[in-house]
Each structure stands twice: as structure tokens, then as C-alpha cells.
């Protein structure tokens, strides 16, 4: 509309004055066009925002309104929240599987490292740690295989909690038996335990 007005003005100028005068006015016209178009951008943005707000108000019943700090949902929104969780699981399942694979590889590598720095293999405590770690690796592997069937959110939560609690228990167990490791590698072993602990925590919290 504005452009049409400006073009009308140009036409009238052309009709009223000679060609040279119109050409002199052109930079001013261009400046006016650019200024007007820039003035319109905030208005359009405000209009779009207002429309979005209006839509949000209109479809408020179909949107989730979580607690501000804990992001929990009210009981009245249980069905909607379940739908949301299900969709979130569907979206993140590939990423979670990759994270589990990385965790499995890291755990196997760390087990190999711990076997390499052990003092003696014949001691029962060594066998306990190594067998516990192997059991954990097997559990992780089965979890990876069965993740397609553990699609129910509650089942997944319980399985993840159990698995990571078991992992932390293993890390804790091997930390308590630090005497069995070679003292020359003790600092490195403690660093490995800390890294393993943090890695388990990271995967448990972020990549479930």
C-alpha cells in the first residue's frame, strides 16, 4: 500500500515536473522507502507476537503448564504429560542407545585398564571386582538389546535407576578395595574412579 502511494507520488511528480527534477528527488524517495520499510518490521513482529499470544490463550487447554522451578505437571494434565513423555522417549531413543553404547565401551576399556594395573590376579577380591564389572557390562548389553521393549516410561526409569545404582555400587566397591591395586598406580586409579563415577552420572542424568 505504501509502495503504491509512493509510486503515485512519483507519477504525479513526473507529470508535474520535467524529468530532471524527478531524478533529483529519487534518492529522497529511496530513503523514504527504506525508512518506511524499516519502520514496518517492528510492527509486523509485534503483530506476530500478539497473534502467537492470542493462539496460546485460545488453546491453553491443550498445552502443558509446568511448575516454574521443578517443571512438574498438575494432576489435571496427567494424560497430556504422559503423551509428552512418550513423544520425548520416541525422539530421544536413538541418542540414548548411542550413549549406552559409549558407556558400554568405556566400561569395558576401564575394566581392561584395571586388570592391567592389578597386583595379583589370584586374589579373590580381584575376581570379585572383575566379575562384578563383567556382570555390569552384560547387564548394559542386555539393556541395549531390550531397550525397544522397555518403551514404557516407568519401566525405563526403574531399569535406568537400578542399572546406574548398580554401576555406582561397583565403582564404590572397587574404591573401597584400593589396597589391592599397585601403590605406584594409586593416584591414577583414583582418577579413573572419579572419571568413571562422573561419566556414569552424566549418562544417567542426561542421556537416559
Amino acid at each position: 500500500m505504501l509502495l503504491s502511494e509512493i509510486s503515485n507520488n512519483v507519477n504525479t511528480l513526473e507529470s508535474n515536473t520535467d524529468h530532471g527534477t524527478v531524478l533529483q528527488d529519487m534518492p529522497e524517495l529511496q530513503r523514504e522507502i527504506s525508512r518506511e520499510s524499516h519502520d514496518h518490521i517492528p510492527e509486523e513482529k509485534a503483530g506476530a507476537e500478539a497473534e502467537v499470544k492470542k493462539d496460546n490463550e485460545r488453546f491453553k487447554g491443550e498445552c502443558l503448564s509446568p511448575n516454574k522451578y521443578f517443571l512438574t505437571f498438575k494432576k489435571s494434565q496427567r494424560a497430556l504429560a504422559q503423551n509428552f513423555e512418550k513423544e520425548l522417549l520416541e525422539q530421544e531413543i536413538k541418542f540414548q542407545t548411542r550413549c549406552m553404547v559409549v558407556l558400554l565401551i568405556a566400561f569395558i576399556l576401564e575394566t581392561v585398564l584395571i586388570i592391567l594395573v592389578r597386583r595379583e590376579f589370584s586374589e579373590i577380591l580381584h575376581l570379585v571386582i572383575i566379575s562384578l564389572r563383567c556382570v555390569y557390562c552384560l547387564l548394559l548389553f542386555f539393556y541395549l538389546l531390550s531397550s525397544k521393549w522397555l518403551f514404557d516410561r516407568n519401566m525405563r526409569t526403574v531399569a535406568t535407576f537400578a542399572l546406574y545404582s548398580f554401576g555406582i555400587l561397583i565403582v564404590a566397591g572397587q574404591s573401597l578395595l584400593y589396597e589391592i591395586f599397585d601403590t605406584a598406580f594409586l593416584v591414577q586409579i583414583q582418577t579413573i574412579h572419579l572419571m568413571e563415577f562422573l561419566f556414569l552420572y552424566l549418562i544417567a542424568v542426561n542421556c537416559r
Partner: protein, 90 residues
Amino acid sequence: MSFVEALVFTMMAFAAHLTIFLIERSATLGNSFLVLIFMGFSLVTVWVGRRTSIDNYNKRQVRVSKWQEEKELVSQLLPAHVISFDILSL
């Protein structure tokens, strides 16, 4: 993981960390600070990620609802051949 679950898990993990590393005699101020900062950042990441997911879900719900509403309105219109027939008859 929901934010509350992450919070509970963090508390459990921190308690486990303190227990383990105190018994192992490797719990230093540096270690504990590192663990605390790491857990804090993880919690913030979970909170922001969760918030973003909820916002995206809400936006999509609004879009789907609008689309359904428009579809219902369009379905109430007369078919194109009926309109053209009326115009021709006029």
C-alpha cells in the same frame, strides 16, 4: 529424565561420592568442587533441555490445533464444482 528425578539422583550420587572418597581417603576439596560443579552444570542442562522440550511441544500442539480448526472450517465450505455451477447458472 525429569528434573525432579535428576535432582534425586544427583543427591544420591553426591552422597555416594562423599562416602566412597572419604573411605578411599581421596576426597579433597578440589575433587568435591569438581563433582559439585559438574553436577550443577548437568542439572542446569537437564532443566534447560526439559523447558525447551515443553515449549516445543506446546508450540506444536498450538499449530496442530490451529490446523485442525482450519481443516474443519474448510470442510464446511461448498465443493468447487458446486460454486462454479452456481456462478454459471447466474
